[in-house]
Amino acid sequence: MPSSIMPIRICDLRLTKGERAVLGGVDLTIDKSGITVIMGPNGAGKTLLLRCLHGLIRPDQGQITLGHLRVADSRDQQAMVFQQPVLLRRTALQNLAFAAPVIAKSRPQRLIEALESVHLADRAHQPARMLSGGEQQRLALARALLGKPALLLLDEATASLDPASVLVIESLVKAQSAQGTKVILVSHDQGQARRLADDVVFMSDGQVAEQSPANQFFASPRTPVAKAYLAGEILL
């Protein structure tokens, strides 16, 4: 699995929306493989950071490099799964074929295997938008993984899904990580973060408040804001 996107360096990333600095000078280096979970209260800037990493948002200031690549040059090595899966108005199989036309022509069996990996082989010929929310997200993940990305970004991909779908997605994410794909996942779910994270980035108020190995973060968070968050206190 290619690792040319490591380390991921984010320097002084700033983004303003209206009068508000939604990203207020984010400095972050992710140099370990495995799964990095970004946590933090609503409005902390987690999703914006992920979108900047993927190139969906251009920051006002700052720099992101993935290995020696800029964001724009690393596009074909990245894949992203959004909170709300957007699927084409076609069957599940056609959605995969659209995402990977070369594979669809040369090795169509791989598309079926991709569906099998998310337990959707029996739904191959159903319109994708008729699938349940969990099935749609699993299909979106299968689609994202078709291109064998070096970096997989997940933005609250399991929010409000049924436990079975969460389990399938988490298993697949772990398997993908074990194969060398760097995974960065935004999640509010502490249980999920404990299950998946190798390291945690905690964001608050548009900045990185803490970055620690997962065990250390959950055992003894260094910052008061992270402590309060883990204790379930409401952070405004």
Partner: protein, 231 residues
């Protein structure tokens, strides 16, 4: 009542005069529809997915042109095609071609504006995902057109409904010449003014049936798409 019975007799016996008018109406409207769709669909799509200064004005103009009075369109096309007009040398005035041109001018903005809205909505929904998947340019446009196929079909049918029922423009540029440019709407206007209600009623019945069929098709396509989550 006698006129109505006679009108149905004309329809049932496949009266040649009536079906000549019907055939010309459908032919003119279908050709206009194809041309308008070929222009309007890409135009609407292009305006939906590109960003340039003046784009909003173009969309505003397109929406305004949807409500253009047919007689004004007829007048403009007449001035263009009249012997002293810039296109007078083509000799198209008072021919079915002139009627097709007038209908194209009338329904292209309808198809373009409606398809623009459809594709714009789809673009908003798909843009992040397409960016993430590296889908750009022609592939994206084709995907929009394919995925919006049912909604676009209703846009096209709306254009056909407008074309087939149009009278103001085609009577000006076609002249309502018997066996040459007489279509259903112009024939109804003429026969009514002459007091010949039989043919007018027969044509009116056919026109109404066609209009109902088109609307039923629009509803059918929408329901089909919604039921299968393709909408």
């Amino acid at each position: 009542m006698n006129a109505l019975a006679e009108a149905f007799r004309l329809i049932i016996t496949l009266d040649p005069d009536l079906f000549e008018i019907l055939w010309l109406s459908i032919r003119v409207s279908l050709i206009a529809l194809v041309i308008a769709a070929v222009i309007g669909l890409p135009l609407g799509t292009w305006l939906a997915i590109t960003r340039f200064p003046g784009r909003k004005f173009c969309i505003l103009l397109l929406n305004a042109l949807m409500g253009m009075p047919p007689v004004v369109v007829g007048l403009i096309v007449y001035l263009l095609l009249s012997r002293s007009g810039p296109l007078g040398w083509l000799g198209l005035l008072y021919t079915p071609s002139a009627m097709i041109i007038a209908q194209v001018v009338l329904i292209t903005p309808i198809i373009a504006a409606l398809s623009n809205q459809v594709i714009e909505n789809l673009h908003q929904e798909y843009s992040d995902t397409f960016y993430s998947m590296g889908i750009t340019g022609r592939r994206a446009v084709v995907a929009y057109l394919v995925d919006a196929r049912y909604a676009l079909t209703t846009c096209i049918l709306a254009g056909f409904g407008r074309a087939i029922a149009e009278v103001g423009a085609v009577i000006i540029v076609g002249g309502n010449i018997d066996h040459v440019t007489r279509v259903m709407t112009t024939a109804i206007a003429l026969e009514t003014s002459k007091g010949n209600l039989t043919l007018a009623l027969a044509l009116g019945t056919v026109l109404l049936t066609l209009s109902l069929l088109v609307n039923a098709l629009v509803i059918g396509v929408r329901e089909y798409a919604a039921e299968r989550q393709y909408a």
